[in-house]
């Protein structure tokens, strides 16, 4: 794989990772909020 493409793959992976990290943090908030309804969680 050319070098520039490899770099792009790293950037994309990092961006995806950051996003997933934020989502996981948000999921903790939604679990901790005293609204435990399953339906609420997905809204």
């Amino acid at each position: 794989m050319p070098r520039s493409k490899d770099f792009l793959a790293h950037v994309l992976s990092l961006a995806a990772g950051l996003l997933i990290g934020c989502i996981l943090h948000y999921v903790l908030y939604r679990i901790a909020v005293p609204v435990n309804t399953f339906v609420y969680f997905f809204f």
Binding site: G17, L18, G21, H25, L28, Y29, R30, I31, A32
Partner: protein, 422 residues
């Protein structure tokens, strides 16, 4: 077979149209493509970095995006619309509004002190501020449906460390007991929020699991909820997800669906104004409150506790109330606490028969029990008229004005006793 023939056969196979099975093969394999382009170590570092960045941001979010023009936690920034203000948000509100040299007056408790039935302009805490003057700074941290020692009280334990002159004023529904904050229920989140962030005084007795005395309230909640709140508070003390996403919800966009905001659930909560409006005096009692069974209703109260209990039983009950009072707040905080023991509307009391009236009047022993434990208690018995009530217990703006006058007097007296006016 000669090489040339083999080569010709290979070319023929490759250029042939796809067979039946190949025709349905996926032209693009997503997983393979992701696998080819993703760098797993970089992805993992990204996840850790994203999570850590959120946790760090959470430590500062209440400062970056504080609640502005705060008057009280109105419907769109309190639990009635699934917004659960955190201890740090409450503390930031006070720190930004109140200079250290003023006498801080924190209002706690439930809907009565929150100012239900009074619009933002008419809320009783404004009247209290006017009556007390510039020397004092009043902040209303009450939350509807919270107990006397929930909501504002929990952050008060931290505020009294920061403000050399601080007084806490709260109200208790005339129940058998005041609620204890460490128990379950929606408000318990704030207790554990404060506990794990070190805002509460070291007072082990209140951490004891709810006993038999708390059974009435425990029945209302799911069994393991208390444990969930405990775990949530513990994790949040270092990951700060509540502080971050609450602040984001206030400042930028909100993400929880609620029926009250169903048409604009994404809108940031700072965009909403306080929707409470001033109610007129009630002239006809609401039958539901008279007939419904339950703790909070007047006949319910008389039935449950205040019926003719006999001397020995009453002594036992008083002992139990005192036991509860001992668990509410540490001894050294109690001189700074003023508890207003509220009364019902005369409109409802007039519907009771003589036995029920007598029974209801016995509830003032709660005040005596709390006084014996070192709390300052103001009895609001018979101090309001029918026109001061918008329903069985909440005050109209006029009633709020009266409440402010009574509270101001009690606060000034306490401030004097504590040496704050020197």
């Amino acid at each position: 077979m000669p090489q040339a023939v083999l080569e010709r056969q290979r070319l023929k196979t490759e250029s042939a149209p796809p067979s039946g099975r190949d025709k349905y093969a996926a032209p693009f394999d997503l997983y393979e493509s992701i696998g080819k382009h993703l760098r797993l170590p970089t992805l993992a570092s990204g996840i850790v970095a994203g999570f850590a960045a959120c946790a760090i941001l959470g430590h500062y979010a209440p400062l970056f995006w504080p609640i502005k023009h705060f008057q009280r936690f109105h419907h769109f920034i309190n639990e009635s619309s699934d917004y659960f203000p955190t201890a740090n948000q409450m503390l930031t509100v006070v720190r930004k509004q109140v200079p250290r040299h003023k006498i801080l007056v924190v209002i706690g408790g439930g809907s009565v002190t929150w100012g239900a039935s009074q619009s933002a302009a008419d809320v009783w805490s404004h009247k209290l501020q006017e009556k007390l003057g510039d020397r004092y700074a009043v902040v209303n941290l009450a939350l509807p449906a919270n107990g006397a020692f929930e909501a504002g009280y929990l952050v008060f334990e931290q505020l009294r460390r920061e403000y050399p002159r601080a007084i806490f004023i709260t109200s208790g529904l005339p129940k058998v007991r005041m609620e204890r904050p460490a128990k379950g229920g929606r408000a318990a989140y704030l207790f554990y929020d404060c506990l794990f962030k070190g805002y509460l005084e070291n007072f082990p007795p209140r951490l004891e699991p709810p006993g038999e005395a708390d059974s009435v309230r425990n029945d209302l909640y799911i069994g393991d909820e208390r444990q969930e709140r405990w775990l949530g508070g513990l994790l949040d003390s270092f990951l700060r997800f509540q502080d971050l996403w609450n602040a984001v919800g206030y400042q930028h966009f909100f993400t929880v669906y609620t029926t009250t905001t169903e048409k604009s659930m994404w809108r940031a909560r700072r965009a909403y104004a306080d929707p409470e409006w001033s109610y007129p005096s009630q002239t006809k009692p609401d039958e539901k409150w008279l007939n419904r069974r339950g703790d909070g209703t007047i006949p319910g109260l008389s039935r449950r506790f205040y019926k003719d209990a006999g001397k020995k039983k009453m002594e036992k009950i008083v002992a139990k109330i005192m036991e509860e009072a001992e668990l509410q707040a540490p001894k050294d905080v109690r001189p700074q606490i003023i508890l207003m023991h509220i009364d019902f509307s005369p409109l409802y009391k007039s519907t009771l028969d003589e036995t029920e009236k007598a029974a209801l009047n016995r509830r003032w022993i709660v005040s005596d029990a709390y006084r014996k434990c070192g709390y300052q208690v103001v009895d609001l018995k018979d101090r309001f008229e029918q026109e001061d009530y918008a329903d069985f217990v909440h005050h109209t703006p006029k009633g709020g004005q009266k409440l402010a006058a009574i509270a101001a007097q009690a606060i000034e007296k306490r401030a004097c006793a504590l040496g704050y006016l020197r």
